[in-house]
Symmetry: C2
Subunit: 451 residues, 2 copies
């Protein structure tokens, strides 16, 4: 057991968890009612149910419905302390992290679960023009841009600018991009119907731009095809094998081998009022900080390469879990396989790392991490989703209305808190019948101004 200053205060091992996403939350839960003291530090005051963040961005849900105050979750766990703070430094020699306000937190065992940010693949200048969807603040910004685009189109008299304001581009056709594009199309065609006098919101174009050859590439090919068909049925224009080569204030440039000309050979410009980035994730900057401090390696996405038990080489007191970890799954008798960057992966890693901390404290050997894949699912819009899950009879793949109901209840089930489950279910039922989205409210809208 460690004898660092951390545990000297009360003799109990001090576990520090950075980040309270799925990985950090599950790690802390695993350490409830044990003999360790846990401190969770997070940049925000809430655990966010990220799979439904796009619903906040598209005004279907209010923010509090998918976010739970971290300290409320651990209210009845006296061994767990919650702190609001941003980690800006890690000192493995002293076993301390430093927060932005100068506070130092000591650890005997450190679990880093700082997650991921958007990956602009070297084009960070695009960020202001094409916000991503990682935090509640992102979701509010996207909601503002989407709603204000329609508002600006209603007042715009120039036909070309009006058309641009009614063009929405979603970049990246992973689950978030597909969900965003499908929902935006539904908003244009149904939610806003009859509310405008100068424009027809149904004339809006929603583009889904994907660099690869199919949507939902992590899914089996047959389901990608189903998802594509459902997107097209919803009116989304899907452009595959298309790369965004430029983004500015008024639009973007797409190049594609199949492009029909435009601004250049195989490359053309699209004027649009709203660009949403869903093209990829990069590890939190804490990954490189940690690697520099410990000598651990990072992969191309900045994720920290961990040992089979999720700890760092030569530093059994430091584990990395979730989107920040480049981890492998070790099933007995099989080749190690990379753990996918999905929430069940983060949750399982969080639990495994915490269990290994307890084993170390008990003087037992740690266990290698094994990811259990229960399948994946994505929704495209009303009545449409794709599901790929395991079953005793082999993989079960289906799409359409049944898949959508499955998606719906799975998400309700994994939401935290009875109130939120109930309200989300109610909001969805009401949206289903009325096509309405009740959270169409922008707090800090900027009315359009002269250029």
């Amino acid at each position: 057991m460690s004898t660092s200053p951390a545990s000297q205060a009360n003799g109990r091992p001090q576990v520090l968890i950075i980040g309270c996403g799925f990985g950090g939350l599950e790690a802390a839960r695993e350490l409830q009612k044990t003999g360790v003291d846990v401190t969770i530090v997070d940049k925000t005051n809430h655990h966010l149910f990220q799979p439904l963040l796009y619903q906040v961005a598209t005004a279907g849900l209010a923010a509090p419905s998918i976010a739970a105050p971290i300290r409320l979750l651990f209210r009845r766990q006296p061994n767990i302390t919650t702190l609001l703070g941003e980690v800006v430094g890690i000192d493995p020699a002293a076993r301390k992290v430093e927060l932005a306000d100068g506070t130092q937190l000591a650890w005997d065992h450190l679990i880093v679960a700082a997650g991921a940010t958007d990956n602009y693949f070297g084009n960070d200048a695009w960020e202001p023009m094409a916000p991503g969807l990682k935090t509640l603040a992102d979701a509010f910004e996207v909601r503002r841009r989407v709603l204000v685009s329609f508002e600006a189109a209603e007042i715009e008299t120039d036909p070309a600018r009006r058309r641009a304001l009614l063009t929405f581009a979603v970049i990246g056709a992973g689950p978030t991009g597909v969900e965003m594009a499908g929902t935006l199309s539904e908003i244009a065609h149904h939610t806003l119907e009859g509310e405008f006098r100068n424009i027809d919101p149904g004339s809006a174009e929603v583009l889904l731009i994907e660099g690869g050859p199919r949507v939902l590439q992590a899914m089996p090919e047959s389901l990608s095809q189903k998802a594509l068909e459902q997107l097209q049925k919803l009116g989304v224009q899907v452009r595959l094998n298309a790369r965004v080569t430029a983004i500015d204030e008024t639009g973007l440039v797409v190049s594609s081998p199949f492009s029909d000309g435009g601004a250049g050979l195989g490359s053309h410009r699209i004027d649009c009022g709203c660009v949403i980035w869903a093209a990829g994730v990069a590890a939190s900057p804490l990954g490189r900080l940690l690697a520099a401090a410990t000598g651990a390696e990072t992969d191309r996405a900045g994720r920290v390469k961990v040992q089979p038990d999720l700890s760092l080489p030569g530093r059994p007191d430091i584990s990395v879990v979730g989107d920040l970890a480049a981890a492998m799954s070790h099933a007995p008798g099989k080749e190690p396989k990379p753990v996918p960057g999905v929430s069940p992966g983060a949750k399982q890693m969080g639990r495994a790392a915490a269990a290994n901390v307890l084993r170390r404290i008990a003087g037992q050997p740690t266990e290698p991490f094994r990811y259990r894949d229960y399948g994946s699912l994505a929704t495209i819009g009303r009545n449409s989703a794709v599901v790929d899950i395991g079953s005793p009879f082999g993989p079960l793949r289906f799409s359409g209305k049944l898949a959508w109901l499955f998606w719906l209840f799975a998400h309700i089930y994994f939401l935290i808190g009875f109130r939120n489950r109930f309200v989300v279910l109610m909001d969805w039922a009401s949206a289903y019948w009325s096509f309405q989205r009740h959270a169409r409210v922008v707090a800090d809208v900027q009315a359009p101004r002269k250029d």
Copy 2:
């Protein structure tokens, strides 16, 4: 009937309404299904139910529960067009207003319902340190400051700074100030109980600072006394006859004839983490713009003095309603009395101004405005409120639990939309039993930083 360019397009009189608070909303509703074309222009995309804004600020309600998209409200009214825009100029000669984006809107009849902002009584520099409560953005900022104060106290090790972070000052004991102070005290003593490890949130102090001799001065004196007792029972420290003479980043200075010394004779400094301004309203700057353009007079608060029929002297085509109007109530056979700055006053003025527009168009004489006072009510916290309403048997005044239930159902009744009524009722029921406030979520929290 006017022959300005506005009505030439289709021959129908063009009514322009600036602002969609209570006054503008009711004016537009009065003009539904009539032979006029209505355009509503507002700086935000929603009508806000301001009486419950303090509940958003204190994390009891999500923003969408008390805000309705304006264009959704008028979706089925083809004669009503909604525009998002900020009016920056009024040209009575041309009968046009100019928006920030350069758009010009013409009118045959103009109803100005631009409302009020916070009044810092010449100390506008205080605004960043002491936000008010007028918009959803204000409410989010107050929510952030309140929740982050407790968070910062949990991590603060210096006892004096920790004490300051746990001191909340509400300035002004009108309905909003009383509601804020009561709710903050409830949050400290009940909602956050058991969630912190380093501080006792119940040790927080909530100060309610009022310049006058009693709280809720618009209410009968007996109810002010009841409200004071209920506030004190909730743990709020009420300071009457106390004036704030300075506010800075870390606290404020209060002077009072009964003060027990401190920074000066009758004046002392209070270090606090969070200051909330509820001390008064000033008319929207549009009031002075309008007065300058038309020669109308404004009162000390910047409100535009209107004629008995709510139009401006010499400009029957321009009416002013709501908090922007200095209006009198004209009951037959009685002295004219000022209309109080409350939401029923704004609603009644909106309806009356719109009805007078229709009378003018029909060539009928306009009617003077008469305010009907149905009473007033304010809540202090759980189970406590004061009510003063008229009844066939004379004024009815009561306080306590019954008054609180009356307040509760009155507010549910006046909320717009079935979904919001239902969710607010549900959230309140849940909060009543659990003491929880489900919207304790801060989107853009700034973790504390080194100074």
